[in-house]
């Protein structure tokens, strides 16, 4: 199981309805990209961090490990804003407002990423996917996504074990061996995926498969109190942004 999904399964908010967590987490993300970066995104970032490490109980180390992935892209992308091309000061010169734009972009992306991480770290995919049918996603697409989700873990586990076996057989000692091993890994993933699909099909056919994958979804109700509190928090962050925007600018 992947670290974020494993954390979601043992989260304090695991049994809350995904809608509750979507209102809070994705609401923070929407605020991060729609409010002015300063102080709006900064407030969203602080709020998301407090909620993640406090009530949601996400371990700081796990959060950092997940958070540094988007941060790498953001820093690389923001660096380009520091320079301008073809201006009067030379072919490549420092952009006059580059640091401000780069800083604002970093703030916005950092805050938005934390909002999604709040949702991801508290909502297992197995709780979310079956409920997408009620949100209007066609059932066959949800079924394909469910099979993809469940088979991905099996394949990733197979890949890890094959990689270990390749390493034990000196499959990563040279460049040629590395390429051969990698190609073997990709081809084996294909073969195993289709083999598993065929065996699943046989098993389901024997159980009267009619084209619908029925899975048990944990019972959960949308909490009016939680949702109202989340909306209140989002409204407070938005209001604080507009109040503080002029004094802090």
């Amino acid at each position: 199981m992947l670290p974020i999904d494993a954390a979601a399964h043992s989260s304090r908010w695991r049994h809350r309805h995904p809608v509750d967590k979507a209102v809070l987490g994705l609401g923070l993300t929407v605020l991060a990209i729609s409010l002015p970066p300063w102080p709006g995104a900064a407030l969203v970032l602080a709020t998301a961090l407090v909620v993640l490490l406090g009530p949601a109980g996400v371990p700081a180390r796990r959060l950092w490990r997940a958070y540094r992935v988007p941060l790498g892209f953001c820093v690389t992308g923001a660096l380009t804003l520091l320079v301008q091309v073809g201006g009067p000061d030379g072919f490549v010169a420092p952009a006059p407002d580059g640091p401000v734009r780069a800083g604002e972009l970093l703030l916005r992306t950092s805050a938005a990423s934390l909002g999604v991480l709040l949702f991801a770290f508290t909502t297992p995919m197995s709780d979310l996917l079956p409920r997408l049918v009620k949100a209007g996603v066609p059932a066959p697409v949800v079924d394909v996504a469910l099979v993809t989700y469940r088979m991905s873990f099996l394949l990733l586990d197979s890949m890890r074990r094959i990689r270990e076996a390749q390493a034990a057989r000196l499959g990563h000692t040279g460049r040629a061996a590395e390429w051969r091993s990698l190609a073997g890994l990709g081809a084996t993933a294909f073969v195993r995926a289709f083999d598993r699909a065929a065996r699943l099909q046989d098993g389901l056919a024997g159980r009267g498969y009619d084209g619908t994958l029925r899975v048990l979804v944990p019972e959960a109700r949308v909490s009016a109190r939680f949702t109202a509190a989340a909306v209140l928090l989002l409204a407070t962050v938005a209001a604080l942004t507009f109040v503080l925007e002029r004094p802090l600018s």
């Binding site: 992947l2 974020i4 999904d5 994705l26 993300t29 990209i33 729609s34 997940a66 992935v69 988007p70 892209f73 953001c74 690389t76 992308g77 380009t80 301008q84 091309v85 073809g86 201006g87 952009a95 006059p96 734009r101 992306t109 950092s110 938005a112 990423s113 909002g115 999604v116 949702f119 991801a120 066609p138 066959p140 697409v141 394909v144 996504a145 469910l146 099979v147 993809t148 989700y149 088979m151 991905s152 099996l154 394949l155 990733l156 890949m159 390429w179 051969r180 990698l182 190609a183 990709g186 081809a187 993933a189 294909f190 995926a193 289709f194 056919a205 498969y209 009619d210 084209g211 994958l213």
Partner: protein, 233 residues
């Protein structure tokens, strides 16, 4: 490399979502029709999605010595065709955003456009064109995967340049900046992905010839239609 969460301004995020929607809707319709006619295709399509997801998790040694991940769009498009890849790519990108914090939900439309639409279509077009002129299969596979990978990152550079034009030289200057980071550096990785795809296809043609024939990648005599063959359509 996908555009991270919150990186694009709201108007751009919405616009790329709107641009991607027709392709994804078309793919969803094909997939829904296919699953209704052949219920067993659900499992094969799910397996294809898992394969695409796992492929993007492989570490790829670059010819310059660095390391990256293959996009898998070229191989996916050749095996499963671009309309199906639009849906499988969207599912994969959604999983990557929520399970790996790679990409994002607000940038899903932009990432789908580059990685699940333009990449597969460009790679598949080159592959089909070369096959039409009787270019050997493995050469066509290499160029299909190479173009799919590179076009994905070229589109990403265009998306970023449109969102963040250079203060002095506008869109073109920004395209040069983002292109030099996200597209030019991708050339050796695209070569690597092309080589890897050829190696994978060679192994598959030895170990899974039947599947490749049913998917329509390898030529075959008359065979009974199956769900997999329909997936290929």
């Amino acid at each position: 490399m996908h555009i991270a969460e919150g990186f694009l301004p709201p108007a751009h995020a919405i616009a790329w979502g709107v641009a991607s929607a027709p392709f994804v809707v078309h793919g969803v319709r094909s997939l829904t029709r296919e699953v209704r006619e052949h219920p067993e295709s659900t499992l094969l399509l799910g397996a294809s999605g898992a394969f695409t997801f796992v492929l993007s998790a492989l570490k790829l040694p670059s010819v310059t010595g660095s390391c990256s991940h293959p996009t898998g769009t070229g191989l996916g498009a050749i095996l499963f065709r671009p309309p199906i890849m639009a849906v499988l790519g969207t599912i994969t990108l959604l999983f990557q955003a929520l399970l790996l914090a790679h990409g994002g939900l607000t940038t899903l439309g932009a990432n789908v456009f580059s990685m699940a639409i333009v990449g597969p279509w460009a790679g598949y077009a080159v592959y089909r064109l070369l096959r039409r002129y009787d270019v050997p299969l493995m050469v066509a596979v290499f160029f299909g995967a190479f173009v799919a990978d590179l076009s994905t990152y070229c589109v990403t550079s265009v998306q970023l340049a449109l969102a963040f034009p250079d203060p002095s030289s506008g869109f073109l200057g920004a395209l040069g900046k983002f292109g030099s980071i996200f597209a030019v550096t991708q050339i050796p990785l695209a070569v690597s992905e092309g080589l890897l795809t050829v190696l994978v296809m060679r192994l598959l043609s030895q170990s899974s010839k039947g599947e490749l024939i049913r998917l329509g990648v390898l030529a075959a005599g008359k065979r009974a239609a199956t769900g997999t063959e329909a997936v290929a359509r």
